[in-house]
Structures are given as C-alpha cells and as structure tokens.
Amino acid sequence: MSFSTGQAPQELRLVRYLLGSLPDAEAESLDELSIADDEFAAQLIDVENDLVDAYVKGELSGETLDRFRSRYLSSPAGREKVAFAETFRSHQKSALRATTAPAHKPGLRAIALPHWVPPWALAAAALLVLAAGGDLLVENLRLRSQVNESRASHAALEERERQLQKQLDDQRAADAGTAKELARVRESLAQLEAHGAANPQGGKAGLLSFVLLAATRGVGDITTLTIPPGTEAVTLRLALEGADFPSYRAALKDPATDRIVWSGADLRATSKGDAKALPITLNANQLKPQTYTVEVTGVPARGAAESVGNYPFRVVIR
C-alpha cells in the first residue's frame, strides 16, 4: 500500500510542501502559515511525522520516495528524525514480539567442570542424579502439565479479551453514530426554532441559534445555516467534544482569504447534561452567503493554549 493512498488532499499538499515540490508562490504562503498559524504548524508536524514513519516502514514509492531521499534526507535534521523513527519502530516491533513470542524453551547447557574434580566424583553424582531422577521426572511432567494448562487458559483469556475489545469498539462506533445523529437532530431543531423565531408569531424575532460540531479531518460535510432576512443576531453553540478548559478563544474566519471576521476571548463553555458547548453570538449582518470557519482555542490556567477544533459552516440567506 502506497503512502499516498487514503491521504486527504490537504495532507498530500503538505507532503509536497515538505518535499519541496510545490510551486514557489504556494510554498511561500505555506511558509507563512507554518510560522504564524498554530493550527497549521501543528498539522504540518503531524504530517511530517507520518511521512517519516511511512519512509521507515517502506510505504513510500515513486516520486515521493525519490524526493524524500534527495531532499529530506539531505538535511541533518531530517536524518535525525528518520533515525528516531527507526528506533521507535524497532521498539514497537520488539514490544510486539515480547507479547506474542512463545515462552522460551530451556535447552541443555554444557557444564564446564574445574580440572581438579576427580572422575569418581562425577560417577557418584550421576548415581545420585539417577536416584533422584524418578522423582524429578514426575515433578517435571506435573509442571509441564501445569504450564500447558496455564497456556490454554491464557489463550482463552486472550480470545475473550479480543471479543470484549471488539464489542467495545462496536459500541463506541454506535455511540459515535448516535452522537452525530443527535447533533443533526439538534441542528434541525435549531433551524426549525430559527424559522419560528423569524416568524412574527413565533416571538423573539431576529435571534437564531445553531449547534455546530467540530470538523473531523478527512470528512468534508459542512453544516448549512439558513438565515432569514431581518435576523438580527445568530448564536452558534460549538459542541466541545471532551475539551475542558477554564476559558476559550474563538475566531470566525473567511477561509478563502484567511481574514478574521470576528474574534472573542475569555469565552466560557456551558453544560447541558453531559454535553458541553461554547456559545458565541454574532451580528447577523456580519454573515454573508458563503463558507466560514470558527477556530476555537482552549486556554488553560497555566501553559500554552491548545487548538480545540474548527467548526466550518455555510451561510444561506433565505
């Protein structure tokens, strides 16, 4: 399987950037992002690590492999990263062998006797060994039987562990599906409420509320927000999947130009049952019919801020 198979287009673009295959103008814009944009810098190093690992695992081929050898390996830093990846891979392989290898079977070892031991002493020792031999044989058979039973139990336990792990994975996949479905239902509900709110009979005219999920890398579906004309404000509830920070920063960006349309700092999350969300409210006139992304960063009490996720959405005014 080649490294490029199954890679997202953005990842392939970053691989080309790392290997110096992009046109200059495009590379220069990524140069800037690699230093000035936290999220891009994080994604770039993730892709670089995967690229190096793919080389070490022999998953690169064709032009990518040629460029990797001629370009990436020409730098001492690149070679150092490859050396680390090789060591890390060896470690993982030996860890895997240690968990799967059969128990070591002890063999006979030559016994070197000191030259001053007389031959009769050896004969006497042999007699003693023969006398004890019967008992030892019985003991040996008993121990071997115990080892076999233990191995059988171990194999059964491993099989059971595999079954349980599979059940857990299935359950997690089902939970993830349910969570997505729930979010879709909430979104539809919010849209319905929004239409109701826009209707003079619905009260609270001009305020809309939507729930947005963080984008998952590699999945391209974008939530569409339908905003009726005359809407004054839009509240976006950004679902926080497991993120837990005392405060957050958010920036609404136009991805086409990377321009920040709106930004907010010291934002607090709200909880509803187990679900946590970060609400942000925007003036509806800030939103044009186009695609936007909200970038959310978690700010810990101490230490560096961390990217929590991106929330892309498309605005339709109708």
């Binding site: 399987m1 490294f3 198979t5 199954g6 790392l18 110096g20 140069d31 800037e32 690699s34 230093i35 000035a36 944009d37 936290d38 999220e39 810098a41 994080a42 994604q43 190093i45 993730d46 690590n49 995967d50 793919a54 695992k57 998953e59 020409s74 730098s75 001492p76 830093a77 690149g78 150092e80 990263k81 680390f84 090789e86 060591t87 890390f88 060896s90 470690h91 993982q92 030996s94 860890a95 994975d169 997690r172 993830a176 963080a214 998952t216 890398r217 590699g218 999947e241 497991g242 993120a243 978690g298 101490r302 230490g303 560096a304 801020a305 961390e306 990217s307 929590v308 996720g309 991106n310």
Partner: protein, 199 residues
C-alpha cells in the same frame, strides 16, 4: 548579516511576555517559535538553521526593546516577516556562495551500527520511562500500526481519551518532539549517568 547584539535579561523577559499574548506559557511559546523557525530555515535548505532562527529571534527582541511594542502584526506573524528578511540576507551572504562540502556520513561497520541502534533503543526506553503512564500509552498507541488505518484508529483513540482528533495530534506530536530531543541528547552523551527531564 548584522550580529553581535545580545538581548538583556529584561528585554528577553519583555519579549517572552509579548510572545505569550497575555497567557503565561512558561517559555513554551518561545521554544515552539524557535522550533518553527528552525524547521522553516531547514526546509529552505539553509546551513545552520538553528543560528538563523536565533538571529531572527534576536532581531525581534531588539526591535521590541527599542520600540517598546510592536502592533503592526501578531507576534507569530512578525517573527515570520523578520525570518523572511533573515533568509533573503542569507541568500546574499557569503555563507551560501562559499558553502562547504556537506559532511559525508561515514557508514558504520555492521557491529558499530548494531551497537549504535542498541544504544538508541536503550535511550528510547529510558526516555519513555520519564513520561507519565498515560502519555506513554498515548504515544505508543498513536504511532502504532499501518498508516492506512491511522485515521480510524486515531479517531477511536481520541474518543477514548476524550479529546478532539486535533487536540490528540497536537499532544502526540508534542510528546514525540520531547522524545526525539531526549533520545538525541541521550545517545550523543558518552556519559552513562544521563538523566533527562521530560516534565
């Protein structure tokens, strides 16, 4: 290239505060910016990317010290602008025209190679032990298995740890960076009493 200006402790402190943008990172932002600049100069195939990164940071510290503040760009973007100038100066400098012949790595004998690999493996073991149990498990799991299965596996891992896929990749890369630094320092050290601190 202008060199020779040494930042004073107070100028450097002011620079760290400016780079942190109001959130004390305990020097993490500085280290991260230095890493990004080194990678930038390395991708540009410059010699001594670390010296060029330091030169960039030194110029930013100096400008901040002289002006009191820099408001025409975010700290990270300003660092990029300065890095670009440093790179253009590098291209015009003698360093690029009188480039020495790059070091040719002398291949190790098979025994020496095995010994070197073993040493690095021992170092990796040692460095992994400096991580917390959770971090150790996370990095081993994150980089396990085949590339083609990584997206699904990492998504499952993120769900299990209870963070987003983005936050997971940031954490894993940070841990890998720490391990790389630790293993590199350990294997370069001839001294068996090497004791890295990964906290």
């Amino acid at each position: 290239m202008k060199k020779g200006w040494e930042p004073t402790p107070s100028a450097f402190r002011r620079f760290l505060t400016w780079l942190d943008e109001g959130v004390d990172s305990g020097g993490e932002k500085y280290l991260e910016m230095r890493r990004r600049l080194m990678s930038y100069f390395d991708r540009k195939r410059c010699m001594s990317p670390d010296e060029l990164a330091d030169e960039t940071l030194s110029r930013v510290v100096r400008r901040l010290d002289e002006e009191g503040t820099i408001t025409d760009a975010t700290p990270a973007r300003y660092c990029y602008i300065v890095a670009k100038f440093v790179f253009l100066e590098y291209l015009r400098s003698d360093a690029v025209h009188n480039r020495p012949v790059p070091d040719v790595e002398v291949p190790c004998t098979p025994d020496a190679e095995v010994e070197r690999q073993q040493r690095r493996l021992d170092c990796l073991d040692h460095c992994l032990q400096q991580l917390t149990g959770d971090d150790r498990e996370l990095i081993l799991e994150y980089y396990r298995g085949e590339q083609r299965l990584k997206i699904e596996r990492r998504r499952n891992l993120a769900a299990r740890v209870g963070i987003t896929a983005n936050a997971l990749s940031i954490r894993a890369c940070r841990l890998r960076g720490k391990l790389e630094t630790c293993v590199s320092a350990c294997s370069a050290s001839k001294n068996d009493t090497f004791s890295p601190n990964l906290s």
